[in-house]
Amino acid sequence: MAEVLVLVDHVDGEVKKVTTELLTAARRIGEPSAVWVGEASDSGTAKLAEYGAQKVYTAPAELNDYVVAPTAELLAKLARDTGAAAVLVSATAQNKEVAGRTAVKLGSGVLTDVVDVSADLVTDHSIFGGAMVTKAKVRSGAAVVAVRPNSVPAEPQAGEAAVQAVEVEVPEAAKGARVVERVAQEQGERPELTEAAIVVSGGRGVGSDDFTVVEKLADSLGAAVGASRAAVDAGWYPNQFQVGQTGKTVSPNLYIALGISGAIQHRAGMQTSKNIVAVNKDPEAPIFEIADFGVVGDLHTVAPQLTEEIGKRK
């Protein structure tokens, strides 16, 4: 069976949930091999084994000192050496770039923002802000596929996860853009936006930089907090929490929109959520067109009551 390479997303040695989803998808296609930039941690390797990785290729962490190009170099080399059928990455802004460069190097094709992938490598896409669905494929060569987090449910299946260090020569041209500093902004204790099973977002309707009403509801559900661009632009909530076309694309089991009108650019980032709940005082707000449950009312009374009810029912 052909190998399928899966680029591992990891933070502080912990493997992100999306990687377990990619391994699950990879098992449909062939034999999953994880690719880890940096030194694979024991707990991380155990997690990869749990989701069926047969091999774990590791490469020096120094690849990350330069923007994208060295990681693409690594994936392309591994794909060539192993004759991999496909390369799967998470559809984050950075990994889509990795996917693009890898495909150029391989002379194959790239498919981004994929919401499902079949055994014969036909991919599903949700386009135009969720208005259309398409199926696509790569005509020849190893398909490079960027899959949205929360699209393929992760299912465990034991694998060997045999760690194997690989050497990769990074050409000078790939070292043109050097990372000289990394600046981490406040993340807090909440789950990460793209990974979270539940997301509670606030928009202009929140009315001020006091997002407590959104955060309290989120915390009652163990959810991540998101924001519309209007709320971010107003300086009410930090940039990295923006959901939408130019923010993060999320696909949680439950998305709660508080005081968000549901502009097409916002919907582009959340329309594939499995359940959508909206609170908005305007009955005509377009968000209600896609809501499974909507409350027409003031979020400042509805959301606290909801938070309290959730507390009571726990």
Binding site: Q94, S126, M132, K137, G176, V180, Q185, G297
Partner: protein, 259 residues
């Protein structure tokens, strides 16, 4: 400093967008064409850099004839001139072919910096900047929320999941911008009038040295095999808050086993 800014014409997101039924490429007749919103930020950044460092801003667009509307818009914001890569052979090119064709067109121009948007609102692939850097063999400074040029050095803040990275490179380089970077200007009446006289050079694939068998639908490495309207979401339940809206929402969440 000479800057080329890449501008794409896309169907207006506010209108209904369609794919053609024969080859599932964008149906350009179905909706109004507008400048890809993010590219306005790229144009603005190029103009700001020109105001600071001098030089010229050239707009480069690949697209059908009607893309001239977007070129005029870019010129009326203040760009100096434009190059329009237009050829029937380019129809249906995918993201990587587009990046390849743009890299060849850029080969006919002199530049210190290429500035583009981080994503187009129609295709949303977000790969053109990275693929372009790969084809050109130039430093990739993408997803920039801030750009500074100092002599031959360029430095950006690259937006990441956790915040940002500070990234440095030498010119020439490829920079893509996110919408946080600036506030695009409105064209003044004077500039709109001037834009009508600014030069727009048309380039065919032969002029750019693009091999006909590398671009267009037939040569694309990817293929859309099926397209259909999304199945409608089952109509939701909408209630009016009468003092119990939160409790009713809690009932819904309980029913769906979230609480």
């Amino acid at each position: 400093m000479n800057i080329v800014v890449l501008v794409k014409q896309v169907p207006d997101t506010a209108t209904e967008r369609k794919l053609t039924s024969d080859d599932f490429t964008l149906d350009r007749a179905a909706s109004d064409g507008v400048i890809n919103e993010l590219d306005e930020y790229a144009i603005e950044e190029a103009l700001l850099l020109r105001e600071k460092h001098g030089g010229e801003v050239t707009v480069l667009t690949m697209g059908p004839d009607q893309a001239t509307d977007s070129i005029r818009k870019a010129l009326s914001m203040g760009a100096d001139k434009a190059v329009h890569l237009v050829d029937d052979a380019l129809h249906g090119s995918d993201a990587l072919q587009t990046a390849y064709a743009l890299s060849k067109a850029l080969g006919t121009l002199e530049f210190d910096l290429v500035v583009l948007g981080s994503e187009s609102t129609d295709a949303r692939t977000g790969v053109v900047g990275a693929a372009l850097a790969e084809y050109l063999g130039l430093p990739q400074l993408t997803l920039a929320g801030k750009v500074d040029v100092d002599g031959t050095a360029v430095k950006i803040q690259r937006q990441t999941d956790y915040g940002y990275d500070v990234v440095e490179a030498q010119l020439p380089a490829v920079v893509s911008v996110v919408e946080k970077i600036n506030e695009p200007r409105y064209p003044s009446f004077k500039l709109i009038m001037q834009a009508k006289k600014k030069p727009v050079a048309k380039l065919g694939i032969a002029d750019a040295g693009i091999e006909a068998d590398r671009v267009g639908t037939a040569a694309a490495a990817t293929e859309t095999v099926e397209a259909s309207p999304a199945p409608p979401r089952a109509a939701g339940t909408i209630v009016k808050d009468e003092g119990d809206g939160g409790a009713k929402a809690a009932d819904f969440l309980a029913e769906k086993k979230f609480v």
